[in-house]
Amino acid sequence: MKPAVTIPRRSEVVRNHRQAGGAIAAVLPIHYPRALLRAFGFLPVEVWGPPQVDTSYGAAHLQPYVCSVVRNGLSFLRSGGLDVADLLVVPHACDALQGLGSILLDFIRPRQPVLPLYLPRGRRESDLDFLAEEFRAASQRLSEITGRVPSEAELLACIVREEEADRLLAELHRRRTELPMSDLAFYRLVRSREYLPAERFAGLAEEALAQAGDPRADGVPILLSGILPEPMALFEALEEMGGQVVADDLACCGRRLYPPGSDPDPFRRMAQRILNGPPDPTRGSPIEERLAHLLRLAEQSGARGAVFYDVKFCEPELFDLPDLRRELTKAGLPSVAIETDLNDPLSHQTLTRLEAFLEMVEGARGKGQEV
């Protein structure tokens, strides 16, 4: 299937933005306020790994039991991959990213300023107040770095723009089967949110939504959960073996469908948006909330199986798995758990597990229909 929209390449977007006098903020996973960075002239460009880098750079600072997302991020930085960045943002998503942020500040001391951000692990009033203050402090720091002081109105305008892009992102997710594109093309599109300015992403999203037609049902419908779908060849492989991703609970995608905020204070509004996002173990969501969310996703999308596609050593994901899988099975949604490393190509075993899982789900349906 041909891509329904043309997505600009990451390197090209970065180059253009810099040529136009803009600055680049390289941002590590997962949650952060895009609008705040934009208000200071930074284009956030996210660093999820990336896959296939020379990991020896990261190995010089991190033990082998640190996950490949963090190890590759550091390797990419040390091998010059982030030289285009003027700022490094390290959100506190887990102990490994905490450690990375800390060694960057204390030992590695890259050329760029490093801005760590702590994310509270609850959804209480105190968490909201804290996060708003954390953003206010970050804003202060950004002022020191850039010498700029955006007005409240400017900041609000940036927030509104991000909210619009996120609204369209959520719509893409909701209507994914109506779009004339393969799963791979769909994920290329939604993941372009990781580096495109909100206004450009919104344009692409509208273009894609305009082409929406009848829902397609190309294979065994599955729900994909985990951190990130790498390598992206995963989608081609799934398609080839007769599977179709109809919903996701991926940290880089479905867990970042932030609802709009309502608070008149811009900092509180940004905090509100992140805290009101879908359940996420790295934000401390209870297992019951995650379970209810996954069941709701499966019901809305018609998914008949769930694939937990997790990065090896990822504690926030791995702790929840046994309870989630057991209770999803009880609710009639079978699942499979697969561990990956960003530097490995899709292994034979991974493909076999996925294929056997699809055969299992398909087999169950066959039986169901005969009865």
Binding site: A60, H61, L62, Q63, Y65, V66, H92, C94, D95, A96, Q98, G99, L100, G101, S102, I103, L105, D106, F107, I108, P116, Y118, P120, R121, G122, R124, S126, D127, D129, F130, E133, E134, R136, A137, P281, T282, G284, P286, I287, E288, K312, F313, E315, P316, L318, F319, D320, L321, P322, D323, R325, R326, A337, E339
Partner: protein, 440 residues
Amino acid sequence: MGLPAAWRYHWNVDLLGRAALRVNRWLAQRRGDAGWNSQVLAPPLRVSAWNKELIARHYLAGRYANGYRKVAWVTSGAPVELLKALDFYVLYPENHAALCGAGRVVVEIASEAEDAGFSRDLCSYARTDIGTVLSGKTPVGRLPRPDLLMACTNICQTVLYWYRVLAHHFRIPLILIDTPFIYTEATDHAIAYVRRQLEEAVEVAEEVAGKPLRMERLREVGRLSQRASELWMEIMERCRHRPSPISVFDQFIQMAPVVEMRGEPETVDFYAAMLREVDERIARGIGVVKEEKRRLLWDNLPIWYRLRYLAEFLGQHGAAIVASTYTNAWGELARMIDPDRPFESMARTYMHPILNRGTGEKLALMRRMVEEYKLDGVILHSDRSCKPYSIGQIDQRDRLIREVGVPALLLEADHNDPRAFSEEQVATRLSAFLEVLGLA
């Protein structure tokens, strides 16, 4: 509170248990060093028998707690003073797991969690605890079912995922005390955030306890807690003496009360006695390693299932590990507690454990300890199960060698899972390190 439960508790814990354990301790103390067979290490302290009694009584009380006292399970860095002041029976799953580690039953218990789908890449304390919860297996008889959980993120985020699993399993409230990681310095809004969570925690804990928190009692617990921590710090500081009267292996064993029985009067008495005995050793010129030639620092959690092996291995060559960043953590914060401003000072105190501060701060601490304790080398245990403690060690080791000028060894292992420990590899590395220290 059920009357039979209360009766059972008093009979088994306060009467029979107390008496039997006291007799045990008395017998152990009378036996003294009779059974000690090490050529290179001094025998254990006499107070060890008291420590054993305290721990045994603690788990015995736990065994009969349900139905009589409310039970809370808490993380090792939790502000336990609140719960103690509300008379909770407080259990530390981390301490229990360490006890399983030292008793070498972790593989059997953790397998129960692994069979249920918990990955072997997860923290071995968590796997041990979840294994006990799922199977009931424990060397202490029985763990009481919790009525309340309290997780404080000042040691890691792992505890929160782990306690979410417990909350889901037991269907009970989980109090989260989220302590923002201090990359450079603690911000005012972070301290205010922690303080507010502490205040809100009181409401939840009071509801579960069925009684209100009395401030006078909280101040009393705070004072006892502070006193125990101060004594603990004093004991550790005695290791500046050459030869060192005790080693970190003694500290690992003797630290249990300051972690899990903080805020109790007997804990204070225990450490006062321990300090007296340590001073007595110093006065008599007794060193824990009979021929102390080199003094070392230990970073990170102990390797619970190989304490004696490591102590002997190093001791044979005249190396004594006399200080550790780990045991230090339960003493260094004592001065921050102000019993008269409990919430304010608790917020600050519980934000500042070494694990909640930057990797550069830990290097600074190690640097300071090397100086103050006159140390010749550092062993950094790279603990597969503890990322917050371990990440940064590669750079810390590098700086210790280059800037401080002390030999430093990174030792790959796991604090509780012997399956991640290769004795052959460890022995080779330690031998090479001892050669560097001129001890071969």
